[in-house]
Symmetry: C2
Subunit: 199 residues, 2 copies
């Protein structure tokens, strides 16, 4: 795609048009070759756009890649509440594992979190555009479960997110053990019921 319509060349192009072309080119590079492939050089060449323009709009290639990704996946974010906490969490975690193990999307997400360790602008973009919102939805669901008496009171609900979704991220990022639906079931069962024998 990215048909580079022959243009006169020099001078100003409509901002919206440039933005659209740049994000499209970045998305293509991202999905084809991963986060590392999204460089200002390559995006500028593919868009086509001037490298100087990219530097003005995005602080780092990582931040551009993140915005392109968010615009591409376009949310569809849902956390259903059927009243059955276990079933709802199970559905969410299975969908999450399916996403992380998708051979197209999994490496992209791992790449983002990885690159964010050396790119503060990307880390900020990832939190603002991805992780914080997902965390919020989960915590809200936990809060309703707490009100319904399905969770112990006095828990820090944020912590539960790290023990479920965080555990999945761990298997994604450090690949010592497989990330499977069975793993999702196990972490859920462990956390809800506890693993210690009654004292």
């Amino acid at each position: 795609m990215t048909e580079a319509v022959a243009r006169p060349g020099r001078g100003r192009r409509p901002s919206a048009e440039v933005r659209r072309d740049v994000l499209a080119a970045a998305t293509e590079l991202l999905l084809a070759d991963g986060v590392a492939a999204v460089t200002f050089e390559r995006v500028a060449q593919a868009a086509p756009a001037s490298k100087v323009t990219l530097y003005k709009w995005w602080p780092t290639p990582g931040a551009l890649a993140a915005e392109a990704y968010f615009a591409h996946v376009e949310s569809g974010l849902r956390f259903d509440d059927s009243g059955d906490l276990t079933a709802d969490l199970r559905a969410q975690l299975h969908a999450f594992v399916a996403t992380l193990t998708d051979e197209r999307i999994g490496p992209v997400i791992a790449g983002f979190i990885g690159a964010a360790q050396a790119d503060a602008a990307l880390a900020e973009a990832w939190s603002a555009g991805y992780s914080l919102e997902r965390r919020r939805l989960a915590v809200e669901r936990f809060a309703r479960a707490e009100e319904a008496g399905q969770l112990r009171t006095g828990l820090d609900l944020e912590v539960l997110v790290d023990q479920l979704w965080g555990a999945c991220y761990h298997r994604l990022l450090v690949r010592d053990q497989p990330l499977t639906p069975a793993f999702a079931d196990a972490i859920l069962d462990n956390l809800l019921r506890g693993v210690a024998t009654a004292p």
Copy 2:
């Protein structure tokens, strides 16, 4: 440090000497400026050693950085068994949180896991030289607890590692929530006792 003793120049140096100098230079760069600072160019200049030599011994700068790090920290790996599972885990997790939040070491570990997402040789080195061994020690401690009747039977003990240490890594890598000793206590209590109300 890294006194570059004036040498005749060209020709072969003793392998052990070169290795030592290279690892020392890599360690210095690593601790001073992070994983990203460990490039073959800079290490070769600081060691001093030839870039070609580095390429022969290490597949990527990340793999060199990992070996330098392992040689530097030199283990001291312990997982005490006092018979009290909760106390032992609490001690381990508090020490782990202290390590991850250490302003010198935390960024290094995050940098390694981050860089490993784009460097298969580093990922392999990290598993072989760091994460697998720690995982094994934890699982062994869990197995003894299971034998002692402190854990439910039939658990996948590997999963527990992800719900405890993995949860900490999650807070290290995606900094949406603080990583504190209180967090360590919370994940431990949640997992051992369970968070659901009795059915």
